[in-house]
Assembly symmetry: C2
Homo-oligomer: 330 residues x 2
């Protein structure tokens, strides 16, 4: 017969409440923890998380939906979130929806049927329809990176507008006037914010915005290469370019390498994310780096707070600052 | 009162077996699928995966343990696995153990208590102790990339020995004799295989192996930079270097950039993984690329086969070939 929590209580001499607290991630004194762990081994106690889930109506599962797991920005945030949540006994189920709205909807269904206790999402769709179901069932939702209008939930964002504004200002300082922007899809929140930053930087310095210098990619490597090619073909007079995510930065660099365009002699360049890639590039790239570790921490904190019962507190929007790292590409 | 599977059977006119098959990922005719889906909507049917798990003793959860989620090699495999398994109704819980044996052990405990139906692991520990418990409970285990002696389970590996052997042979063809190798930790399977390949390539061409040309990193960016620095300091006569994973390739490039070493004029270079980084580098790097997509597919196939009841079939070891991509760095 399998050992029960009562057996553990008897063996350790501790109360059932303490034992239960131990398994539910509550505060248990180090000394008592050790006692419980010894008893677990001795009695060969195995927790049945499935039965526990049915009893408590908590699965201790957190659903995560992201556009691409192999985008370094996503991977870095998720690995941080996963690590923290696991320490609190939560398992994260990550679904990669490949930036596809239909797949995202399926992933949300999947998580809902799994009865996850909460949801973390970097949304691809902009309507937020799929999120409302979770909120209606009192499951906390934390949105990463891309704010969705009309959905009342916690958000962890980056100040994208300022990031691009500062980068463009840096280029203007160096007397650049014809500055290209490789932006993301025009309907995505972060992308819109970045384009706003571009406009503001130019306007504040009395420069005209010329739309033919803005080329929208799709946040992928090949999209970045194509957007770079378009700018080089149509605006040979461009003297600097700002690329607004990591994968497109890679793509733009591939295109520039293939055409033999010299940085910074022929074109000044600012990239995005992934410090290591910037350092490993020759010349070292100037980049805007997003605080992925801090974002992961903030996401985990927000959802844990809600899971621990702060269901009615006002929704929080955290906006984190990027860092500008000067290389030798300007 | 919530709708049940019986209600769905009544509504669609189909047998309970068909309905059950639909939810368990079995074969159901397209026409019947549509009927069931219409009924699900009409009756507002919600699957309770938790209750189902208790009844069937299957959680439809697959545990995944990897050393680093933000290693591109891991992320690319996992995203492929996750996608395929989700199509079969399985959710994957990914735990990142940060290349730490203690954390890996905790992750295995975590998955075991969650009662996952199967386990996928790229092991950090080399003793395989934690895996035996899963096998004893008839939970299939698939090991990725790093074979573990004494554990009888399916493996998906890469022919690391041949990958390095071919790369080194390519450098010898170009008359290099003093060839450095930046290897991984000397106790990891892939690392050992790569060092073997290095030895073989030199021996087959009548060259001596000089151990001072082998520098062990730890598969991280900073480890790669340090290993590169060590080689440059102690072996200034080295004319070519082979770096044996992506993160160390990045690190080695950072070190070379900082010292202003010119590739290929002063040092020929072969890197590992991540085609996009190789293309985006200047000059374009020659690299060994691992077939991550194919690996992910193989892993998913193997575990699905076991989950579908092929528990007694002979354990399979799949060994996939790498691809050599010629750049301009030799």
């Amino acid at each position: 017969m399998a050992a029960t929590m009562k057996d553990l209580a008897r063996e350790t001499g501790l109360g059932l409440a303490t034992i239960s607290s131990y398994f539910n991630g509550g505060n248990v004194r180090e000394k008592n923890k050790e006692k419980i762990e010894t008893a677990i081994k001795k009695l060969n106690f195995e927790i049945n998380e499935v039965a526990r889930g049915l009893k408590t109506n908590h699965t201790k599962l957190i659903g995560v939906v992201i556009p691409e797991l192999d985008m370094i920005f996503c991977a870095q945030i998720i690995t941080e979130v996963e690590d923290i949540l696991r320490n609190y006994g939560y398992a994260t189920i990550v679904c990669d929806c490949r930036s596809d709205e239909k797949r995202e909807e399926e992933a949300l269904d999947f998580h809902f049927h799994r009865r996850v206790d909460g949801l973390i999402i970097m949304p691809t769709s902009t309507n937020g329809k799929g999120l409302k179901r979770f909120l209606e069932h009192n499951k906390p939702v934390v949105v990463i990176d891309r704010k969705i209008d009309g959905v009342d939930c916690d958000c962890v964002l980056v100040d994208n507008e300022k990031a691009v504004k500062d980068g463009i200002a840096r280029l203007i300082e160096e007397k650049h006037e014809k500055i290209g922007l490789i932006a993301g899809p025009s309907d995505i929140y972060t992308s819109k914010e970045r384009i706003k930053g571009y406009h503001k930087a130019l306007k504040e310095r009395g420069l005209q915005v010329d739309k033919s210098l803005i080329s929208c990619g799709d946040f992928t490597i090949s999209g970045g290469a194509k957007a770079m090619a378009r700018l080089l073909d149509t605006r040979p007079d461009m003297t600097a370019v700002f690329v607004s995510n990591y994968e497109m930065t890679l793509g733009a660099m591939i295109e520039l390498n293939e055409r033999g365009v010299k940085i910074p002699q022929e074109l000044s360049f600012i990239g995005y994310d992934n410090k290591e890639f910037a350092y490993a590039s020759n010349p070292q790239l100037s980049i805007v780096a997003q605080p992925t570790k801090e974002m992961g921490k903030a996401v985990a904190q927000l959802i844990l707070k809600r899971l621990q019962g702060d269901g009615n507190g006002k929704r929080k929007i955290w906006k984190l600052e990027t860092e500008f790292i000067e290389g030798k590409s300007i």
